[in-house]
């Protein structure tokens, strides 16, 4: 069964897990997380990582997402050279420095965010996307800085801003510095909003903690992918606090739409067109 990926466990807490397990679907075949159907991997990729049987939206890697959603060859990456430091000399079961090194080696990314400038249906956008598999997409100084620059660049270029969020929250290993990224990114948005271009925030599975409670929920328009887990506190923390089981569908996109907390839920197959449509109206 080695060519089937293991059923992934996505554990989300208020803050990210030490070693998150995003859905990895390696090998020629993959098994759907939801309906257990075996899918030919290429077919899944062609289908934006959406299960053709049950429409489950599997994790879609940041670079693949940007390549598919932006106009062909329009993406120019910025701030690639920003790299994380270890301001606290943090160590838990492993040294933070070593964790950074091994994660980078595995993923080929220096931190959990990719950003730059591109186009969607001809509209220029300053865009960023989380790399969730990098320490649960947790936000430390590098992510915060890159996010702030997405808005500064958009402001300078007088173009729209789009951020795709998938994050467990602040990166505990950077302590108070990671908390302060919430203020920094939100301040950058305040400044961006003195202009007239829109910020479209797209919430992916999962978006929680300090990322949800800062720039992610500050979109002029807030979209979410179907059934994404989105909220402030992680479900486990809430269950432990209130000592009762959470209702079915709690903190999922559909729940948030019902409660008036997001603008719309967009299926991946429609995402590029929807973004283009909004940019056409506002961008």
């Amino acid at each position: 069964m080695a060519w089937f990926s293991k059923k992934p466990r996505i554990a989300v807490d208020t803050e990210p897990q030490a070693e998150p397990r995003p859905s990895r679907m390696e090998g020629l075949w993959a098994k759907c997380e939801t309906c257990d159907e075996i899918i030919y991997r290429q077919e899944l990729e062609k289908n934006w990582m959406v299960c053709p049987h049950c429409e489950h939206h599997h994790y879609w890697a940041a670079r693949a997402r940007l390549a598919a959603l932006l106009d062909p060859d329009s993406f120019e990456e910025f701030d690639k050279e920003l790299e994380p430091q270890d301001p606290l000399g943090f160590s838990d079961t492993k040294k933070y420095k070593d964790r950074l090194k091994s994660t980078r080696k595995n993923l080929g990314e220096p931190d959990a965010f990719i950003s730059g400038v591109g186009r969607i249906q001809g509209h220029q956008v300053s865009v960023g996307c989380f790399v969730f598999e990098f320490m649960g997409g947790s936000m430390g100084s590098v992510v915060g800085e890159k996010v702030a620059r997405v808005f500064e660049r958009a402001h300078e270029l007088k173009c729209s801003a789009i951020v795709f969020s998938a994050s467990g929250g602040a990166r505990m290993q950077e302590g108070i510095f990671s908390l302060m990224q919430m203020a920094k990114t939100s301040a950058a948005i305040a400044r961006f909003r003195t202009g007239t271009r829109p910020y479209i925030s797209v919430l992916l599975n999962p978006t929680t903690g300090g990322v949800a409670a800062s720039f992610s929920w500050l979109g002029d328009v807030i979209l979410a992918e179907p059934k994404a887990l989105i909220g402030f506190a992680g479900p486990r923390v809430i269950e432990q606090t209130i000592r009762q089981k959470l209702p079915e569908g709690f903190q999922r996109s559909e729940f948030l739409l019902d409660h008036g907390m997001i603008d719309a839920i967009i299926h991946r197959k429609d995402l590029r067109a929807k973004l283009g449509q909004i940019l056409g109206l506002l961008g």
Binding site: D79, L82, P84, I176, M182, A190, P247
Partner: protein
């Protein structure tokens, strides 16, 4: 006013017991014929030495316990000591009133200001009402409403941070806890009046920061400020909630730590043995510091205030590359 049942932390106990003995001797001295005065002065010297020994070098985990001390002065205690004419303003005008954040206009040195802070309870009943100082979205939305009022009337804003964190509950999530916090961060960053935020107890993550975006960020000596509670950090990263002391060390969350890391502007010394041992004196020291910073910020124009606050938070972060 650290009244109510007195609570004693384990490491405070030797000192508290010695002081009790001194008090007993004093009572005996006044009522009886035997003179204990030399014994008393000996013990008082000993108590002073013991106090220095215990409190001059608290571990981070001990500071965490101090920051949560049930006798520690809370926001409304500082209102009592530092402000006059306090008019409490309630409600978010949308859903409800959240007593875990209290705010309103008041006078500081005779001049009107907006004051607000997290408010914990002194006993179970109060804590039920105040939700242990853990706000729900309506608390943050009330705070935002009051801050915008302050801006409209050109009054400085003084916030007092003291919360374990924003409340993790079903209703809080339904009503947009994350959104409420996020909006406060954005709004505070652009307000055109001076803002001074002081962590007086627990600075628990985003729930603290949501009223903490100030031109000046101050901390009392035995307060803490962190991205997650030491217990939370321990259970997630150390896989053991009992390792909270280790997590506290790893996160470096005391006023001294944050001053060293240039996150805060000033750490305010507490009376010997901690703020709860002499709330009036603590309030006096805090008032003096607030006065100084308010004076400095009064020199700035509204544009400069916004720029000053923006630059302060924009600069926070440690990374390599340009």
């Amino acid at each position: 006013m650290a009244t109510g049942t007195s609570y004693v932390l384990e490491f405070e106990r030797p000192l508290i017991e010695l002081e009790k003995k001194i008090d007993e001797l004093k009572v005996l001295s006044t009522s009886g014929t035997v003179d204990f005065s030399s014994e008393i002065s000996k013990l008082e010297k000993k108590a002073k030495k013991l106090q220095t020994e215990i409190f001059s070098d608290l571990t981070r985990w001990q500071v965490v316990q101090m920051s949560r001390h049930p006798n520690r002065p809370y926001f409304l205690d500082y209102v009592h000591y530092l402000f006059t004419d306090f008019v409490e303003l309630c409600g978010d005008r949308a859903f409800g009133e959240d007593p875990s954040i209290v705010g309103g206009f008041a006078r500081f040195d005779g001049k009107p200001v907006m004051v607000m802070g997290h408010q914990k309870g002194r006993n179970t009943k109060e804590n039920m009402a105040r939700n242990f100082g853990m706000p729900r979205p309506e608390g943050y939305r009330k705070a935002r409403r009051l801050m915008e009022l302050a801006e409209r009337f050109e009054k400085p804003i003084l916030t007092f941070v003291d919360t374990p964190g924003a409340y993790p509950g079903i209703g809080a999530e339904e009503r947009g806890q994350a959104e409420a916090i996020a909006v406060n961060l954005e709004v505070m960053s652009r307000l055109r009046v001076p803002i001074i935020s002081t962590v007086v107890g627990e600075g628990g993550s985003g729930g603290a920061l949501a009223i903490g975006v100030g031109n000046r960020v101050l901390m009392l000596q035995n307060s803490v400020y962190s991205v997650i509670s030491p217990e939370g950090c321990a259970s997630i990263l150390f896989r053991d909630a009992a390792k909270a002391d280790k997590a506290a060390d790893a996160m470096r969350l005391t006023a001294k730590d944050l001053l060293e890391m240039k996150i805060i502007d000033e750490a305010i010394a507490e009376p010997a043995g901690g703020a709860h041992r002499d709330p009036a004196k603590m309030a006096e020291a805090l008032g003096k510091t607030l006065r100084k910073h308010l004076g400095q910020l009064a020199e700035l124009s509204p544009d400069e205030l916004v720029q000053d606050r923006y630059a302060k938070f924009r600069a926070l972060g440690v990374f390599s590359g340009r």
